[in-house]
């Protein structure tokens, strides 16, 4: 069903958006302290529209807040990549690059979708992903081709995160773009960045999976607890 596919997408965007927002006030420099919450806003804004639309299509009366704040980790359907803890700046930038490069390709396929809202979200998000790619790719290159220490950390990020990329290309709902078909273009987009960053593209990596079935890492529960506690403790709170 379309609404289920949109819920998966919304979960990806909310979880990564929340992760990025965790950098607010902690980023290594002022520019990044502005940049990361801005990236988070793009993702959370997209998530809101998707949650709202998924809830309406489902027809069970669930609002965007119900879907974001009142579901447990076990029913979140985000891919594992987006829930990975921020780690150091190299981890965060690589995670962003992996996801944004995927979503740009994905939204391009959704630009002529039959659903008005999906088309509208795609039209906005495809441009925003271009900025996210540019920003994170510049950092991956700067760190990978930087000092011995920054290069070591960038390689560590690749080792830690590449195994979570395969899940993005698993088959999904037929009402939405075919994710399987995007893998070749995704690799073609990122390999030149890796080359410029002096990083080896990992081959034969065993890919982790489970997020789309609700099997998540421990970190997602902690993240959701922080994100949801206010709404759960004070339902409908506004300020």
């Amino acid at each position: 069903m379309l609404w289920e596919g949109l819920l998966e997408l919304a979960d990806d965007h909310l979880v990564l958006g929340h992760r990025l927002s965790e950098w607010c006030g902690h980023a290594p420099m002022l520019e990044e302290d502005l940049a990361l919450p801005n990236l988070a806003l793009d993702l959370i804004g997209t998530a809101r529209t998707l949650f709202d639309h998924a809830g309406k299509l489902e027809g069970a009366g669930r609002t965007e807040d119900d879907l974001a704040y009142l579901r447990d980790a076990r029913v979140y359907r985000n891919c594992l990549l987006v829930e990975r803890p921020n780690g150091d700046f190299a981890h965060t930038m690589l995670r962003q690059l992996y996801f944004a490069a995927f979503m740009e390709l994905y939204w391009q396929q959704a630009l002529d979708h039959t659903d008005d809202i999906v088309r509208g979200v795609a039209g906005k998000a495809v441009k925003e992903m271009g900025y996210h790619i540019r920003h994170s790719a510049e950092w991956v290159i700067r760190l990978g081709d930087g000092t011995e220490e920054s290069a070591r950390r960038m390689r560590a990020a690749v080792n830690a995160l590449h195994r979570y990329t395969g899940e993005m290309f698993e088959p999904s709902y037929s009402e939405l773009p075919n994710r399987v078909a995007l893998q070749g273009a995704w690799e073609a987009r990122l390999k030149p960045v890796f080359t410029e960053a002096m990083l080896d593209w990992p081959n034969d990596v065993f890919m982790q999976t489970g997020g789309r079935q609700g099997i998540h890492g421990e970190g997602l529960g902690h993240m959701l607890a922080t994100m949801q506690i206010l709404h759960r403790a004070h339902p409908g709170a506004t300020w």
Binding site: E31, A35, L39, D42, I44, R119, G123, K124, E128, A137
Partner: protein, 162 residues
């Protein structure tokens, strides 16, 4: 896009169009192309508002301000959020671009589509020099990047092209 059918419609449009953008108050919602249309039916004025960025925190403030302006002009007021087609900086009017420049914000390059590592030529809004450098892709708001002029050394906001 602008539909003016009668006097009421024109009055409603004028009221809504005069609303300043909350984050960039030197331009109005009409200058930015965020206000797409205003329709009046049975005393109810409905304004179509297109958000700039997906996560633009100003969207709610803009919708509220437009509704208030329409109410002050004597209409029952509603807004409708327009997602398709997606807002683009190409919808910023020439007058809007001029106001941005005068305010010290470099207006977006028109018709451009950012790709990996290609940077637009951004002229300094203070001295007009093209010799400028990007300091940060993200500035004071989601829609702006930070630049600095190499000729007059002045830092400034650039309204990003999307």
């Amino acid at each position: 896009m602008v539909e003016v059918l009668d006097l009421d419609q024109a009055r409603a449009w004028a009221a809504a169009a005069a609303v300043p953008d909350p984050e960039v108050p030197c331009v109005t919602v009409a200058d930015l192309g965020i206000l797409r249309w205003v329709r009046v039916e049975d005393g109810v004025a409905t304004a179509g508002v297109a958000p700039t960025y997906s996560g633009c925190p100003a969207v709610l403030a803009i919708e509220l301000a437009v509704e208030t302006a329409l109410r002050d002009a004597g209409f029952d007021a509603r807004t409708e959020r327009i997602l398709t087609p997606a807002w683009t900086t190409d919808w910023i009017t020439d007058a809007g671009r001029e106001k941005l420049r005068a305010y010290g914000i470099a207006p977006p390059a028109s018709g451009g589509k950012g790709s990996l590592f290609d940077s637009p030529v951004v002229a300094c809004p203070q001295c007009g020099s093209d010799d400028t450098a990007k300091i940060s892709e993200f500035g004071s708001t989601a829609c702006k990047a930070q630049y600095q002029c190499r000729s007059c050394a002045e830092p400034f906001d650039y309204f990003k092209c999307i």
